[in-house]
Subunit: 287 residues, 4 copies
Amino acid sequence: MSENNVNAYLLLTCPDQNGIVAKITQFIYHSGGNIIALDEHVNQNQEFFSFRVVWNMKNSTIPASELHAAFEPLAKEFKAHWRIEFSGQKQRVAIFVSKYDHCLQEILWRYNMNEYEIEIPLIISNHPDLQHIANAQNIPYHVFPITKENKQEQEAKEIALLKEHDIDLVILARYMQVLSPGFIEAYRNKIINIHHSFLPGFVGGNPYKQAYERGVKMIGATSHFVTEDLDEGPIIEQDIMRITHKDTIPDLIRKGRDLERIVLARALSYKAEHRIIVDGTRTIVFG
Amino acid sequence: MSENNVNAYLLLTCPDQNGIVAKITQFIYHSGGNIIALDEHVNQNQEFFSFRVVWNMKNSTIPASELHAAFEPLAKEFKAHWRIEFSGQKQRVAIFVSKYDHCLQEILWRYNMNEYEIEIPLIISNHPDLQHIANAQNIPYHVFPITKENKQEQEAKEIALLKEHDIDLVILARYMQVLSPGFIEAYRNKIINIHHSFLPGFVGGNPYKQAYERGVKMIGATSHFVTEDLDEGPIIEQDIMRITHKDTIPDLIRKGRDLERIVLARALSYKAEHRIIVDGTRTIVFG
Amino acid sequence: MSENNVNAYLLLTCPDQNGIVAKITQFIYHSGGNIIALDEHVNQNQEFFSFRVVWNMKNSTIPASELHAAFEPLAKEFKAHWRIEFSGQKQRVAIFVSKYDHCLQEILWRYNMNEYEIEIPLIISNHPDLQHIANAQNIPYHVFPITKENKQEQEAKEIALLKEHDIDLVILARYMQVLSPGFIEAYRNKIINIHHSFLPGFVGGNPYKQAYERGVKMIGATSHFVTEDLDEGPIIEQDIMRITHKDTIPDLIRKGRDLERIVLARALSYKAEHRIIVDGTRTIVFG
Amino acid sequence: MSENNVNAYLLLTCPDQNGIVAKITQFIYHSGGNIIALDEHVNQNQEFFSFRVVWNMKNSTIPASELHAAFEPLAKEFKAHWRIEFSGQKQRVAIFVSKYDHCLQEILWRYNMNEYEIEIPLIISNHPDLQHIANAQNIPYHVFPITKENKQEQEAKEIALLKEHDIDLVILARYMQVLSPGFIEAYRNKIINIHHSFLPGFVGGNPYKQAYERGVKMIGATSHFVTEDLDEGPIIEQDIMRITHKDTIPDLIRKGRDLERIVLARALSYKAEHRIIVDGTRTIVFG
């Protein structure tokens, strides 16, 4: 069945208990699935079980369209949170930007190289500055200028647009606005930000100036899911770069751009490959 | 059953086929085992399946002493190579040294910190120089001077000593002698070497001199299993260090020591934690 | 004198001897220059002296146009090879490409961000594939298809074009042709290549396939000046990325692209900032 | 003059002004010194000049014993803070420990390898636990138990002991006591601490627990000079290690030990090589 020649991705979390892996892999085996990858994690206090398994459905006796229903009884038995994704079903990603283009350019370049199994149907900004980049890629670019007065209203329009385009994931690619709690709630664990600092090192603004004045020997960047606690959401990826006394604040900003690009690009790839499970304040990123 | 309050480690390789994971995890589940970690890998050409699973046996209905026999039928069905190890059963490690002490010291320090679940019943050397270090740790130190003439004979004595002490693993901690094929055959995939170079960069002697003259900007070290092809055995771990034009050959040697220590120490930890499976010229090191 | 409000860069090498630094800094001091940065290096066998000094000419009594003549007697005394560059005098760079765009894109993005003090008056390729990227940046794109028969002739045209445009530096951004000795001679130490491997690890073609088969735990990339000995020119910059058994050859190619981009971009920045001196088979890259 | 066959290290800071380098190198040249290394730095706001120069005195017409007096007039002209050190004059280092031995062991191993040009005449501790390590090295080990009541008194004894042994540098190798301001004042910029965290990330206690709970993807360590502001002294060196969700708090502690060892060892080497100048809240570590 050529329609089934796809891979299924199951991501599941539940209270830890015996037999979960045996029962799930049995289910896959009996359906004719061939496991390609699997990984599991039990957290430190032995209560929270996380599981990711990928299998090929070429010989599956269960069509993709019926897999969700077929698996549901098992999931109920485990009291699990879970979802099944399929290869070929591209995640629909909206990118939010302001005036800096480096993270946007990096993502678009990888998108064009087909590094991600995603679709980018639109770019949203509070400024018109990066319109030309979107144009060059033939991606619609929507400008919603934000003021204190119109924020709720503009965000409502943005959310409507996201819904209309069936957006699965929002990437804040150096988007310089704080999202309202309502927006965050609507896309819980589906908004990824890049913080231009090695959290929790320099929370807040001007981290490169802080880094210079504190005389640190490394700067970093952090990508995380957005929560109501600014800069406190579950961390997905971090990296650092070595600096010296010779680096001025402009040097740090320039080096920081490189970090921001690479860290956000990696976080997006983990998400695109269905590798991430959120466990409270932490993420599990399966390798 | 307190005797069973241990973890079992199954490492298994076999031709790839459907249902392996399901059947093994079913076996564990039915025996009352609670899976702590599992990981699998299918190689690029989809033929070679590798599997590692760890489970707690506290509530196991099969005693540790009977586990091997109980699992054997399933292993036969898969035509598998496999072994089961238990926590608490310390691997018995012999360390071979010559005159450099840095790798030996590093391993002994971690050994004393209980970082490894191993026992070191003896140290073997072709020189008496490091006797005092062994003495300070109360580890017997055996000297077997090697000449072209006596090599076979001395190695035979070494192997006899290893057998007598039930040695599971040989660590060449900057041991400056090439082992004979017979020795290697007797401890296939059980001899770990540290090569003071980033393989395959500078094969052979004096890699730091080669690195200096070639003007490379990084030096490295490589830990690998020993095979008959010198410096060509399956690589377990590698790391590098950034250098500049300012580094003289003595600087490279000094920096190289740090690399050698850390890379060999990591390779040993992977082995001690039963994380490594050899697949031809490559290793699988489960994370 | 506003014309003089520039920085001068002196790069000088000569046989090692006493008093060089004193005499040069005295020269700068007496001319009214204010030293911003200086660095020196004497090689391991104490024979080859390298020096880089940067000074501001705001209060210089010697105009930039006369600096070369003013310094010449001192340089002769030292039997030095030397050159003086000025800030604001952008190096003129030609980029050579074939079909891969990642290195080109990376350089153009940084060029647009003004990270380099360079001018890119033209892009040369043996294929028409990347024309659209050049067009988007309004940079002339010249195609010279190369066959065994027409190579000399085409290279002669390329060199003529480079001369016509006063090119100071050639960047081979994954240009898949070997340059003839005559070309190399014409731009000695002025052609920078990116080698998609951690030299001297996997010399030659298909390094990622070699890396996979050898089971290395890290891949790398190397940027070097081009000499007649393929892959043996003085190394400017290298970096590595950690890999595992899970990485297939396509994964390595993808990760390798990231390395190639970053390593070539760094090498270009060192050159653009007049930081590199070549000492035989090695480079000195002043920090 | 064989007594003069040593290297002199000049470290100097002063308000930035023209001609400093010229005059100092002239001084060295006229004295018959041969410059081996020099480096300078002007801070971002162009006010604070730092300089390090190393020269060989084999042919010096000024004996080492008279060099200080000979240079003084120039230093006064620049209103400089400065000092001159000589190779062969080993810095005298006291190591402070509590119960953890890893940093102490690391330093002693490198000390025995002659990596540092230092002398360690004594180890001071508030606990008797590591006495045996000192004994094995024949280094006197002094125990000063600290309580809230006796702290001033015990520190006074420690300082007396340091003075008696002409100690130049104090290394806090995981010494678990906060030093009083008086102690710090007595050894301003001469006390190096290792902070088991990537500052300013997790200030204060239990950083590994904090790191686990915050779900960071990297842990770090920081070595800094001790000031009255706990954890806020000028940073000398930092490094990080990548971690994952699999790492438990004990794993982080174990990995953190490796970081602490290496970061403190590097900071000590920079100090031993007279590479560090303190500029307010920052350090300049010459390469």
